[in-house]
C-alpha cells in the first residue's frame, strides 16, 4: 500500500466522520424543532410534573447546551438517553436488543444475495443469449422493479395465506421458520441487482484480450472462468456491497414491520408512530453510522482490490 492509497483512505475516513457528525446534528436540531413537550400525552399532567420531568431529562436547559451534552453522552458513554414510551428502558438497550435480530437477518440476506447473484450472473454471462440467460434476465428485471414491501406482502399472500407453508410471524416463538420469508424478501432485490451487475461485468471481462491469451495458452475452460474471468468481474460487485447493506438496513424497516420481526427496524417504525423522539434520534444515528461505515469499507476495499484504479 503506497502513501497515495493511505492518503485516500484517511480522506475517506475524515469524510465519513464529518457525515456522521452532520447526521447527528441534523437529527438533533430537526427533532428540537418539534413543538410541544414529549411528556404531554393522553393523560393530562400538571405543569409542575411536566417541569419536573423536563428538568430530570435536562430539557429546561438552552438548546445548545443540550446538544453538547447529547453529543458528549453518545461519544463518551454511548448513552442515547431514556426512551419516553418504553418506560424504564434506555434507548441504547432497545437498540442493542433490536440489533441482535436485525444483524442476523441482514447478514444472512446479504450472504444469500451475494452467492445467488454472482452464480446466476456468471451463468447468464457464460450462456449469453441462450434461453437460460433470457429467463434469468426477465426474472431479475421484474424483481428489480418491485419495492421490498410489495415483494414481502406478495410472498406473505402466497406462502402464508394461500399455501400456509410458513408462519406469518417472525418473532422468537416461530423459530427459524419465521425468518425464512423476511430473509428472502430482503435478499431478492440485491440478488437480482447483483445478477445483472455480474452478468454485464463478466461479459465485459470475457471480451478482454487476456482471456483470449489465457485460452490460447491452453488454460482449461474452468480455470479461465474461475481464475481469470470471475475474479476480475467481481470488482463492480464489491462496490455494490456498501449500497446493498444500506438497502438491507432501510428495507428491514418495512420487512420487520410486515413479518413482525422484533428487530431495530420495528422499534424505529413504532418510535415514529409513537413520537418517541429519543428513540427516533438514537435509531437514526445508529443506522446512519452503520450505512456510512459500510459504504466506507466497500469504497476502500474497491480501491485496494483493483490497483488499476487511479486515486484522486
Amino acid at each position: 500500500m503506497n502513501t497515495k492509497t493511505l492518503a485516500y483512505i484517511l480522506k475517506r475516513i475524515g469524510l465519513a466522520i464529518l457525515t456522521v457528525w452532520v447526521v447527528v446534528t441534523v437529527t438533533f436540531f430537526v427533532c428540537q424543532a418539534v413543538p410541544g413537550s414529549p411528556f404531554v400525552g393522553e393523560k393530562a399532567t400538571s405543569p409542575a410534573v411536566t417541569a419536573a420531568l423536563e428538568a430530570k431529562y435536562g430539557m429546561d436547559k438552552p438548546v445548545l447546551e443540550q446538544y453538547i451534552t447529547y453529543l458528549g453522552d453518545i461519544i463518551l458513554r454511548h448513552d442515547f438517553g431514556p426512551s419516553i414510551k418504553l418506560r424504564g428502558r434506555t434507548v441504547a438497550s432497545v437498540i442493542v436488543e433490536g440489533m441482535k435480530t436485525s444483524v442476523k437477518l441482514g447478514l444472512i440476506a446479504a450472504g444469500i444475495a451475494l452467492v445467488t447473484g454472482v452464480v446466476l450472473g456468471a451463468v447468464a454471462a457464460l450462456r449469453r443469449n441462450k434461453i437460460i440467460d433470457r429467463v434469468i434476465m426477465v426474472i431479475t428485471t421484474a424483481f428489480v422493479s418491485m419495492p421490498s414491501f410489495i415483494m414481502g406482502s406478495l410472498l406473505m399472500v402466497v406462502f402464508v395465506v394461500k399455501l400456509s407453508l410458513l408462519p406469518a410471524n417472525g418473532s422468537a416463538q416461530s423459530g427459524p421458520a419465521g425468518l425464512v420469508l423476511p430473509v428472502i424478501t430482503l435478499a431478492l432485490y440485491p440478488a437480482a441487482y447483483i445478477t445483472r451487475l455480474t452478468r454485464s461485468s463478466m461479459l465485459d471481462v470475457l471480451g478482454q484480450d487476456y482471456i483470449r491469451t489465457a485460452r490460447a495458452k491452453g488454460v482449461s475452460g474452468w480455470r479461465v472462468i474461475f481464475g481469470h474471468a470471475l475474479k476480475n468481474s467481481l470488482i463492480p460487485v464489491i462496490t455494490y456491497v456498501g449500497p446493498m447493506l444500506a438497502y438491507i438496513v432501510t428495507g428491514s424497516l418495512v420487512v420487520e414491520q410486515i413479518f413482525a420481526v422484533p428487530g431495530i427496524g420495528r422499534y424505529f417504525v413504532s418510535s415514529i408512530t409513537g413520537r418517541d423522539y429519543p428513540l427516533i434520534m438514537g435509531t437514526t444515528i445508529v443506522l446512519a453510522v452503520l450505512i456510512v461505515v459500510m459504504n466506507l469499507v466497500s469504497d476502500i476495499l474497491y480501491k485496494v482490490v483493483d490497483p488499476r484504479i487511479t486515486l484522486e
Partner: protein, 352 residues
C-alpha cells in the same frame, strides 16, 4: 462519330449543367436532427416502445377516468347523511353490490359496477387505485423535475468553472452523497408533520396530499440532486475541452451562453436517461413512506398506502394488496425498461 481512343477533348463534357443535372445533386431529404434520430432508434426497440405505450396508457387512464367514473375516492357508499350507516357497502367483493344498489338493480335500474369491489370503509376500490396511480406518478414526475433542475444548475456551474468552485461544490456533493437518504426522508417527514402549522398548506396543491409529500419533495431537492449534478459535471468537464467551446470563447461568448447553448444541449441525452430512471426511484420512495404511514394524508390514496392498508385484511381480501402491487410494479418496470431503451437510443457511444 467519335473514335473511342481519340485524344481529342470531349467538348460535351464542358457544357453548362442542365436544371435536371443540378436537381440530381441537391439532397432532397429533410435533414434529421439528433432528437429525431433518437426517437427513430427508440421506436425500433420493441421493448421500449411497449413500455412507453404502457406508461402513456396508465398516465392517461389516471387523468381521464376520474372525470366520468360515478364514484369518488373519498365517498363512503354506505354513508348517507341523516341515515344509519349501511354496512353492506363495506368490503364488497368485485362486481358485488350493496343492499340499496341491489334493490335498484331489481327494480330494473342500471348501477355502475364496483370493478374491484369496495374497501373496509365502503369506498369504491377501483377509483382509489386510479387516484393512487395518479398521486404516485405525479410525485415521481415532479420529484424528478426538482432533481433535474437543481442537478443541471449545480453540475454545469461546477463543471464549467472548475478550480476552487468545483472543489467546494464537489466536497459538498461528496458529503450529501454519503448521507443515508431514506433515514433523512423518514426523519424529516416525521418532524415536518408535527412542526408545520395545520393551515399553512390550505389553498395549495398540498392541502389534500399533505405535509409528508412536501417533505419528500424537500428531501429530494436537498439530497437527490447530487448524483445528477455529478453526472452533468463529468459530461461538462469532457465537453469543455472540445474545440467548439474554444471557438465560442475566442468569438467572445460569455460563460452562461456557452453553458446553455453549447454544453447543456450536448449532454441532453445523459439528462434524459437519468431523469427517466429517477422517476421510478421517487415512486419507490413515495410508496415506501406511504407504507410506513408517512405518505399522503388520508383519505387521499397512493399506491403505497393502498398496499399498506390491504395488509390488515390480507387473509380475506388479498386481491386488494395484489392490485396496487401489480400497478406499481408495472409502472416501475416500464419506466426502467424505457430508461434502458432511451439509453440505447440516445447514447450511441455507450453501445460501442
Amino acid at each position: 462519330m467519335k473514335k473511342p481512343f481519340s485524344l481529342h477533348v470531349d467538348v460535351d463534357a464542358f457544357l453548362p449543367a442542365s436544371e435536371e443535372d443540378k436537381a440530381y445533386m441537391v439532397q432532397m431529404r429533410p435533414s434529421s436532427t439528433f432528437f429525431k434520430d433518437g426517437v427513430k432508434r427508440l421506436l425500433k426497440n420493441k421493448v421500449a416502445t411497449v413500455s412507453l405505450m404502457a406508461i402513456i396508457l396508465i398516465t392517461l387512464a389516471s387523468i381521464i377516468l376520474p372525470f366520468f367514473w360515478p364514484y369518488s375516492y373519498e365517498q363512503q357508499l354506505g354513508v348517507v347523511p341523516g341515515k344509519r350507516v349501511d354496512a353492506s357497502y363495506n368490503n364488497l367483493a368485485p362486481f358485488a353490490y350493496g343492499t340499496t344498489e341491489q334493490a335498484m338493480i331489481d327494480a330494473g335500474e342500471k348501477v355502475f359496477p364496483h370493478v374491484f369491489g369496495t374497501d373496509a370503509a365502503g369506498r369504491d376500490y377501483f377509483i382509489r387505485v386510479v387516484y393512487g396511480t395518479r398521486i404516485s406518478l405525479s410525485v415521481g414526475f415532479f420529484a424528478s423535475i426538482i432533481v433535474l433542475v437543481i442537478g443541471i444548475l449545480v453540475g454545469s456551474v461546477a463543471g464549467y468553472c472548475g478550480g476552487k468552485v468545483d472543489l467546494v461544490i464537489m466536497r459538498i456533493v461528496d458529503m450529501i452523497y454519503s448521507l443515508p437518504d431514506m433515514l433523512m426522508v423518514i426523519l424529516l417527514a416525521t418532524v415536518l408533520k408535527a412542526a408545520l402549522p395545520d393551515d399553512i398548506l390550505v389553498g395549495t396543491v398540498f392541502e389534500k396530499i399533505g405535509t409528508n409529500i412536501l417533505s419528500l419533495f424537500i428531501v429530494f431537492a436537498l439530497l437527490y440532486w447530487v448524483s445528477m449534478s455529478r453526472l452533468i459535471r463529468g459530461q461538462i468537464l469532457s465537453l469543455r475541452e472540445q474545440e467548439y467551446v474554444l471557438a465560442a470563447q475566442a468569438a467572445g461568448a460569455k460563460g452562461s451562453w456557452i453553458i446553455s447553448k453549447h454544453l447543456i444541449p450536448n449532454c441532453i441525452s445523459v439528462v434524459i436517461i437519468s431523469t427517466a430512471l429517477q422517476i421510478p426511484s421517487a415512486i419507490f420512495t413515495e410508496s415506501y413512506l406511504s407504507f410506513l404511514g408517512l405518505g399522503v394524508n388520508a383519505p387521499m390514496p397512493s399506491l403505497g398506502s393502498l398496499a399498506s392498508d390491504a395488509l390488515n385484511g390480507i387473509t380475506s381480501y388479498s386481491y386488494r394488496l395484489v392490485i396496487p402491487a401489480i400497478v406499481i410494479s408495472l409502472i416501475v418496470l416500464s419506466l426502467n425498461l424505457l430508461g434502458d431503451g432511451l439509453r440505447d437510443a440516445f447514447d450511441p457511444k455507450l453501445n460501442a
